[in-house]
Amino acid sequence: MKIESLSIRSSTIAIISMIGIIAIVLSMFAGTYFKQAALDAQINSLSRVIQVASQEMLKQLRSRTFDLGMKLGHSSELISMLKAPAAIDKERLVQLLDDPFVNGFVGFSEIDLEKIRVYNLQLELVGESNTGPAMLGDELTGFLVDIVKNRKVSDRLKAVDALWMSAQGPLFSTLVPLGGLRPVGYLEIIVNPIFNLPDIGNITKTPVRIYSLSGDMINTNEQEITDGHLPVEFTLHASDGTPAFKIAGYENIDELSREMDNTQTVTITGFLLLSFSTLLFALWLFHRFLFTPLGRMIGDMEQITHGKLDLTVNNKGLREFHILADAFNSMTDQVRMRTNDLQRLLDLDDNALMCFDHDNEAVYFNTGATSLFGYASDEIIDLDSTDLFVDDINQIIEQADVADGSRQDSLHARLGCKHKDGHVFQCDASINTVDVLAQNGIAIALNATPGNELVSSTQSYQRLDAAEETLSSLLAFAKENPGAMPGLVNLGMLHTGDNDIDEQKAKIREQVVKVMNMSLSCWEHDLCKTKLELAEESGLWPVYIDKSTPTTRTLDKYLNIASCPKNPRSQRAVDTAEFVLRNMMEKSPGEKCTELHEALETFRLLLSGIKSRNK
């Protein structure tokens, strides 16, 4: 596709359409990516929430075990037993340690108490409750041992705890000093954290499953899980860093997707509405401030280039278009001025300049030509080359072409010319074929001052050639701008390119011939006068003297459709008919008079119809 075939309007609309399509596609992609990103973020977020919730759960567990430890840790009986380790009543010690299992304690239902053990200050096991698993061994978990042994004196009073892996699974221990600020040993409160882990679901508001490392489900918060739930796993590590168990929270993807779809629909619709509103507004702006002024300018410019040089381009528009229109207008003014100057120069040239179309009818003539041949300007336009020249111009050109096939310059010849009064004279001529409305025409420049001895023959031909070239260039301009040169009367009328107008001209010619024949018939039969008398008495038609014989060549042409000029002088035909009718009304008004009158009216109607349509 050529760039010239694209208009700014179609390019702009195409660009805006592309932007619109890109906006749609991008919004679709963005929507999809947004959905995936939101899902990933939600999963990451849930994973972090599970992590925080598990820490919170451990914190609550720590608080419960600390409270229980503090209560037991101030038992005077326990303290006194540890102060005298040699005399410990083991049975009583176990009874004391079993008491929370038997009688309960504050927060009993909130933890799963597994075991209570007592150590001396050297962290040697002194005793443990009977209740609870028996396979925990007789040593404190190594993690707690390391912490307690590495602490400063003042820190040894602080309670410590750990999530640790026993042979039976993960357990949570809190070690509190026994004896308050003056400790005599340590009390270890051991609970099962799995009991509390489902509480994570209360924080995350999702179903939660607790799995062992081997993948067996060990606890759940009993919330329903559907196919629309996506598991988000988090591994809870023991205090020494080893994995303890897996916590799986289940995110309801269906609900999330539904919410995201709603959000996506709203945002995309909003974005698209906003985008399309902006694009439509941009399109309107383009239409208002670009397309419309530009279209108006182009229309004006086209009319100007087709000959309406008196038209000015509308310069109302954006700054660039305003400047462009002004530049075009000033250029048109220049062209009009130069063309007029050139035509005036040609009109006033001493040489006789004339141009004939392919039918040998005169298209252009200057004042030199009218004075050389003795015709008035309205007479010469009805003539053809055979009326003005003795020689056949076309034959001369053909002979010259045969003699010199590659001839490009003007043909120089001495032509025999016929004056209106009948005498024949010789003139130097520069002849060239020219393009008259896409058909071959002839431009002739005649030396109208043959007696000027001061000018050599070469100089004379050079002047003729220059004048002939100027005429050719004007004809070329007139071809592109018909109507631009008022002097080229026939040229403007000849150029139509419109079938309707061609048909009208044909009708006019037919009607002209009909009116003229009827007028002549009335003149000859009813008034009994000759054609020559019609020309002379009416003064409308020239009378020529050919070899001492008066002729009416121009009038004769209007009596035959074949010889009638393509652009006949309609008014002259009307005037002739009216002249005949006036004479007939005076002498013998009759049927033929009525027929001529009707034919004349028909012709007038035809002409008035054409004029009103051309307006």
Partner: protein
């Protein structure tokens, strides 16, 4: 003219009202901190307090909080005297020697009770005062032994 004057007065009054309400809200939400220092009073941390308690059995520890708070948990050996109920005669009864070391604590750095009690004691001539500014919050955060009364 009168209408515009009334309008101006109304807008001014409304603006002043909104400003006062806003200020009051801000003041209500802003809970004051205990002073950073009290002149001639030693400020200690939880660990230093423990060391003092363990090294000086005669150290008097006064819990300046409410009774209910005290019962929920307190430092071993402390006695509960709410700052507003601290009387000169009462203090002189339990600490006749005004050079005796007395440690005060309350809920923490946002609590003014212990500092108030200390200021009172200073005014009554007690010279060896110790302030556990971090108070109960610091104590429990460090998971130190507490006494919980039923």
């Amino acid at each position: 003219m009168i209408g515009s004057f009334i309008t101006v007065r109304f807008i001014t009054a409304l603006t002043a009202g909104v400003f006062l309400l806003f200020s009051a809200t801000l003041l209500a939400e802003e809970k004051p901190y205990a002073p950073e220092v009290i002149q001639d009073v030693v400020i200690v941390t939880a660990e230093q307090a423990i060391e003092m308690i363990l090294s000086s059995p005669e150290l008097l520890v006064i819990d300046s909080r409410k009774k209910t708070e005290y019962l929920k948990g307190h430092i071993e050996g402390s006695i509960n005297i709410l700052n507003t109920q601290l009387e000169r005669e009462e203090l002189e009864r339990i600490a006749p020697d005004k050079t005796k070391a007395i440690l005060f604590y309350c809920n923490g750095i946002r609590c003014l009770r212990s500092s108030d009690s200390i200021n009172k004691a200073r005014g009554w001539g007690y010279s060896n005062l110790i302030w556990f500014r971090g108070g109960w919050k610091e104590w429990t955060d460090k998971r130190l032994p507490v006494i919980i009364d039923k």
